[in-house]
């Protein structure tokens, strides 16, 4: 991730070894200092690399454990024997048997099938079970009925088939390889860090080379100049940053995992924060993924049913006698049943045998009426005609639960228009009334209204058979239809929808205020898609599509200016005919877009279109066929519950609860970490100047070296590590969900004001403060600042053992060396003390520290404590280890830089105040990073 730094450090290490080589060839007894330094640099690179790898591997492990690693088994007939073999050992030509519940082990052509239905949703996105038989019905393998695909599921029935392709050659395998063929572009944060590395490396190399040239032309020996170069590189490279960024990202990843967003690559943590477009699925992500009764119509009135997740709050009027009849039909004309053994489970969570709408009706009636099974038992079913696509109705005949009433009750439900055809009366307030033209009209109005909401509407009617014609012993024959199927009494309509998750509208609003555009991409019908989009706010209440505008103005669709319509509903058919330019125009001109009836392959086209707009695109998906789009997206989000393994492995993130609202928390965390990384980097960069200036002053003014290279490493990798991680715990300054997503090319992680402010303002102030400590130490020991100027050459001559200080005393070279180390320690402490101030000012970029609260982020204080403790240990405990170049420091020197630290803090408060007071001013533009 921070490869550029590693290269710089390797160069530094190699230069160290070269310098030692030259020294050694001149003088066999030369000190091993530069070898140590080179080794330390190499060690730093290797260790930070291992650390980053470990962190990355740890978060990948979460994913690995997530996969179910159970090998798939297949029942195969080989040598006239049935054998169970692992699915990956199947070969083309094997005969396999499958039964309901099995995953299909390879692409197979069916040889025989009994009532076989497969779920192809992971492959094609069709959610309805597909019947399978051995007839060849279509040239397209995806359409023909006699082929079942690898990794799809057999829902019911049994089948025998011959394997026609395995592994990568299966349809799924091809899609998977298509997905792996999609270029995995760099993550936005990866690009940002690369940009930052370029800046820092550029500064390091240019200053290094510049001063190398200066040093050489000042008649320094080349060897010395190389040593300067190493010092400058080490001072400039933030050695600890790689580790810090990795830790900060993995902290966020952990936080997001707690909120049900499992992130695979650490860098993807931030991507969600810069996302500007989310292409979301409908089913399951925005909706609850179950049919639910939404509206009822009886007594010429529309009633609204509660569609929330637990159905608890059914408020419609249940006193009408019509409702009593309607509820009876709903209860009785229904083949769905609860699976046994679920007594303790809430109604809405119980597993049901039956199709989606029957399940919805069963649960609806169970919630309102109580024990449905008991009611059905009291009204024994004597005959029934199940629903089929030619009849479009379902009918059943029951005894009544009233012992005095010996009549049979015929109940029917089905497509409203078909049901109405069979009716001659309609029930209003419990009274049968003849069905005349005007009542039929009200029925149609209601039907159209509910249909317009994108809901699936069912009509309900009943008929009491006269007891004299149909005595209790009468034998009903559903094939001969020996009972009336007309002159029913129409009771009511009921409409169902897969309702939005209750948290979604709120999440959509949040996204909208965060400047994120949400595009719905679904395979569903446009009307349903639009209805859901409206109900969750993807199409806001007051915006219109081109068609809406046309309807309102009563003109043809072609005459409407497309720019008048904020919203657009585009079907897959229309999308197919669009050129890329037209798609771009569509994406640019409409802020609220719904793609309906799209094939999963078109998702990829939509994603590419969005990326052409310079947007950072998040895509949600669950099917195998979504995986190319997931891969193509800047961040692919797979569904943890419904998602296929292929989708999960192609995605960068997995939503454990399949809930769209979790994405919003992800966005929030992503934005926060971007801000906090900015703070971390600003904090880390600042001291680089304080570390660099000593070398420059040393070369130009000839002072004894104020800080050693090893000492610099102790700042970068010692005292500064925990504080810079602590900044990752900082809370957001303002509502980060109220601003636009950052622009990929304009809002950089490290921008010019950040670099300038860190380097040329705070960094310089730090350098001055540290120099004050340094000069104080030297002056109090006898070397006044004036005596230090150009002292370097004499100072460093090992054989000069009577160097005179400002007071006439004479120093041996080791005594000077020891004083020099004291100087290093003093400079180190000076920087450390001012880094505390730097840490505190970096808590905010705009707000005052007091607005942010000094004690809200406790980790900052842990960081400050760690700085002080590490510095104390280095100075006191390790002062005796010569190679480290630390000495004991008098207590008062620890406080010399404190006024400078206070100054840094005051200066930054003034900067922030001016930014807050004069937004948009020259100051704001130049000083806000």
């Amino acid at each position: 991730m921070v490869g550029g730094f590693s290269i710089l450090l390797w160069i530094g290490a190699i230069l160290c070894w070269i310098a030692y080589g030259i020294q050694y060839s001149n003088d066999k007894s030369s000190s091993l200092d530069s070898v140590y330094l080179g080794s330390v640099l190499a060690l730093v690179v290797v260790l930070t690399g291992i650390f980053a790898y470990y962190q990355e591997a740890k978060s990948t492990n979460i994913m690995a454990s997530f996969h179910q690693m159970i090998p798939q088994q297949a029942l195969v007939i080989r040598d006239s024997e049935k054998k169970t073999v692992p699915a990956d050992q199947l070969v083309v030509g094997d005969i396999v048997e499958i039964k309901g519940g099995d995953r299909i082990p390879a692409d197979i052509r069916l040889l025989s099938a009994q009532g076989c239905k497969v779920d192809n949703s992971s492959l094609t996105g069709e959610s309805e079970p597909q019947p399978r038989s051995c007839e060849f019905t279509h040239d397209n393998p995806l359409e023909t009925k006699n082929i079942s695909f690898f990794s799809t599921t057999c829902l019911e029935g049994t089948a025998t088939g011959v394997v026609i392709s395995t592994g990568d050659r299966t349809v799924i395998g091809q899609i998977a390889s298509l997905a792996s063929g999609v270029e995995n572009s760099k993550t936005p944060i990866g690009l940002e860090i690369e940009h930052f590395v370029h800046i820092v490396a550029g500064v390091a190399v240019s200053i290094g080379v510049l001063f190398f040239v200066i040093a050489v032309s000042m008649k320094y020996r080349v060897l010395d100049s190389i040593v300067f170069l190493i010092g400058i590189i080490v001072a400039n490279v933030p050695e600890g940053l790689l580790a810090t960024v990795t830790v900060a990202l993995s902290l966020t990843a952990k936080r997001m995992a707690k909120k049900n967003c499992l992130v695979k690559g650490l860098e993807a943590v931030e991507t969600l924060g810069s996302t500007s477009i989310i292409c979301s699925d409908k089913t399951g992500t925005l909706t609850q993924n179950r049919m639910t009764v939404a509206h009822l119509w009886f007594d010429n009135q529309v009633f609204v049913a509660d569609t929330s997740e637990d159905h608890s709050n059914q408020v419609f009027d249940q006193s009408s006698a019509t409702w009593a009849s309607l509820s009876k039909i709903i209860t009785l004309c229904n083949r769905a049943e609860f699976r046994p053994g679920q007594e303790g489970v809430p109604v809405m969570k119980k597993a049901v045998v039956g199709d989606a709408s029957e399940t919805a009706l069963l649960k609806f009636s169970e919630v309102i009426l109580g024990n449905v099974m008991e009611i059905r038992k009291r009204n024994r079913k004597v005959a029934e005609i199940p629903f089929n696509s030619t009849n479009k109705f379902q009918l059943s005949i029951h005894e009544t639960d009233d012992p005095s009433d010996k009549r049979f009750l015929v109940v029917m439900k089905g497509a409203p228009e078909r049901v109405l055809e069979k009716c001659s009366t309609i029930m209003v307030s419990g009274q049968e009334q003849p069905l005349d033209r005007s009542t039929a009209q009200t029925f149609h109005t209601a039907y159209m209204e509910l249909g317009g909401l994108g809901e699936r509407v069912l009509g309900f009617c009943h008929l009491y058979l006269p007891a004299d014609e149909f005595p209790a012993t009468y034998s009903f024959d559903v094939d001969a239809m020996n009972f009336p199927t007309s002159s029913f009494c129409f009771v009511g309509l009921l409409s169902m929808i897969d309702p939005p998750r209750s948290t979604v509208p709120d999440a959509v609003t949040k996204c909208r205020s965060a400047g994120i555009k949400i595009i719905m991409v679904t395979g569903d019908h446009p009307i349903t898609a639009k209805a859901i989009a409206k109900s969750v706010g993807i199409i806001s209440a007051n915006s219109e599509t081109v068609e809406d505008v046309a309807k309102r103005l009563n003109v043809a669709v072609e005459q409407v200016d497309k720019r008048d319509a904020k919203a657009a509903v585009v079907t897959g058919m229309e999308l197919k005919d669009m050129s890329p330019a037209q798609l771009d125009e569509l994406l640019a001109n409409h802020s609220e877009i719904v793609f309906a009836r799209t094939s999963p392959q078109q998702k990829l086209i939509i994603v590419e279109g969005c990326q052409r707009q310079d947007a950072i695109v998040a895509v949600t998906g669950d099917g195998v066929n979504d995986s190319p789009a997931l891969k193509k997206a800047d961040i692919g989000i797979a569904m943890g519950i419904t998602g296929s393994d292929a989708a999960k492995s192609a995605a960068d993130m997995v939503l454990l609860d399949d809930n769209f609202a979790s994405i919003v928390t992800g966005v929030e965390e992503g934005r926060l970490i971007f801000d906090n990384l900015k703070k971390t980097i600003a904090y880390t960069l600042t001291k680089n100047i304080a570390e660099l200036c000593p070398f420059l002053i040393y070369i130009i003014a000839g002072l004894p070296l104020p800080i050693g290279t090893i000492t610099i490493l102790f700042i970068d990798l010692g005292t500064d590590i925990i504080p810079s991680i602590a900044l990752a715990y900082e809370k957001a300054e303002r509502d980060i969900m109220n601003r636009k997503p950052r622009h990929k090319k304009k809002d950089r992680l490290v921008n010019k004001p950040l670099a300038v402010y860190s380097y040329l303002h705070i960094g310089l102030m730090q350098a001055l403060g540290a120099f004050v400590v340094y000069f104080t130490v030297y002056a109090q020991q006898g070397f006044r600042p004036s005596a230090l100027l150009n002292l370097r050459v004499e100072w460093e001559k090992g054989y000069v053992n009577d160097l005179e200080d400002s007071y006439g005393q004479e120093w041996t070279s080791y005594q000077r060396k020891y004083l020099e180390w004291t100087g290093y320690t003093a400079f180190f402490v000076g920087i450390m003390v001012q880094q505390i101030a730097d840490l505190i000012i970096r808590k905010t970029r705009r707000n005052s520290i007091f607005q942010q609260g000094l004690f809200r982020n406790k980790v900052i204080w842990v960081g400050i404590a760690s700085q002080v403790i590490i510095a104390l240990i280095l100075s006191c405990g390790l002062g005796s280890i010569v190679a480290l170049n630390f000495t004991m420091l008098r207590p008062q020197y620890w406080f010399v830089a404190v006024p400078h630290a206070v100054l840094i803090w005051v200066y930054d408060e003034v900067r922030k105040l001016a930014i807050r007071l004069y937004p948009g001013s020259w100051w704001d533009k130049n000083m806000y990073y």
């Binding site: 104080t776 006044r784 054989y799 009577d802 007071y807 070279s813 005594q815 020891y818």
Partner: protein, 279 residues
């Protein structure tokens, strides 16, 4: 591919040109003249302020210092030894008896060093009683005379070439000045020859004695005329027709508070030097 690269190179060149000077906006290096003016003014003021502040803190810090004695003297508790003439690269003296040019530098260096010990220069100094510390309370501080005759053959008075021309070179050994240092016992500098003995070594004053009257030292400002006691080492080589190479080690001895053995500091209370004399 190359075509594309070339194009992008030209593009980036054009971008650079536009960055350096943009004629439409009048921007030079990304800023207009006014913007440059503002930013330069800002930095002028800001850095001016910082410079003033830094100067002030430094001034304030210097005010806390004593002009006469440094605040702390803990890092030089014990003096180092140093030799004269001052070596050019290492403590390695090498000359040829027959070639005066080869030792002229050494002689000049010694003369220069001993200049402050001249009779004329010592005229105003005091003759102090030997064997006792000369503690003073000011305000005037006087210094004790160090008569050059103490150095006998190495004084440069009788032999202005310090024995170099006659194959018996002199090296002066001195102890580093440290303010307030009071050696205990009877400090002296003892020099020995290491390795093969091809020469005879004599020290002046005899036994390398250092008189206590030269201590303590009160610092450059109060004690400007101070002369450090010196010890001369003369090597008299037996065979002047061969190349003679000797290593001499000098140590402070006889004073318990002056260290002469330190693993890290090779010059603390001792000094080792080599003399190579060619015919």
């Amino acid at each position: 591919m190359t075509k594309q690269e070339k194009k992008s190179f030209n593009q980036s060149l054009a971008e650079w040109k536009l960055f350096i000077y943009n004629p439409t906006t009048g921007e030079f290096l990304g800023r207009t003249a006014k913007s440059w003016g503002l930013i330069l003014l800002f930095y002028l003021v800001f850095y001016g302020f910082l410079a003033a502040l830094f100067s002030f803190t430094m001034w304030a810090m210097l005010q806390t210092l004593n002009d006469e004695v440094p605040k702390y003297r803990d890092q030089i508790p014990s003096p180092g030894l140093m030799v004269f003439p001052k070596p050019v690269t290492a403590l390695d003296f090498s000359f040829s008896v027959s070639n005066p040019e080869s030792y002229r530098g050494y002689i000049n260096d010694l003369k220069k060093f001993l200049k402050s010990y001249g009779l004329e220069e010592q005229k105003n100094l005091t003759n102090c009683p030997s064997g006792v510390f000369r503690e003073q309370n000011g305000p005037e501080y006087t210094s004790c005379r160090f008569p050059l005759v103490l150095l006998e053959a190495c004084s440069g008075v009788d032999d202005p070439e310090f024995g170099y021309s006659s194959g018996s070179p002199c090296i002066l050994v001195k102890m580093n000045r440290i303010i307030g240092l009071k050696p205990q016992g009877e400090p002296r500098i003892e020099c020995i020859l290491k390795g093969e003995n091809t020469a005879v070594l004599s020290t002046y004053p005899s036994n390398g004695m250092i008189d206590l009257k030269y201590f303590p030292y009160y610092g450059k400002k109060l004690h400007g005329s101070y002369l450090q006691p010196l010890v001369a080492v003369q090597l008299i080589f037996g065979n002047r027709n061969d190349i003679n190479e000797v290593t001499v080690e000098c140590k402070i001895d006889g004073s318990p508070n002056l260290k002469n053995q330190d693993d890290r500091d090779k010059f603390l209370g001792r000094v080792v030097f080599k003399i190579t004399m060619r015919p």
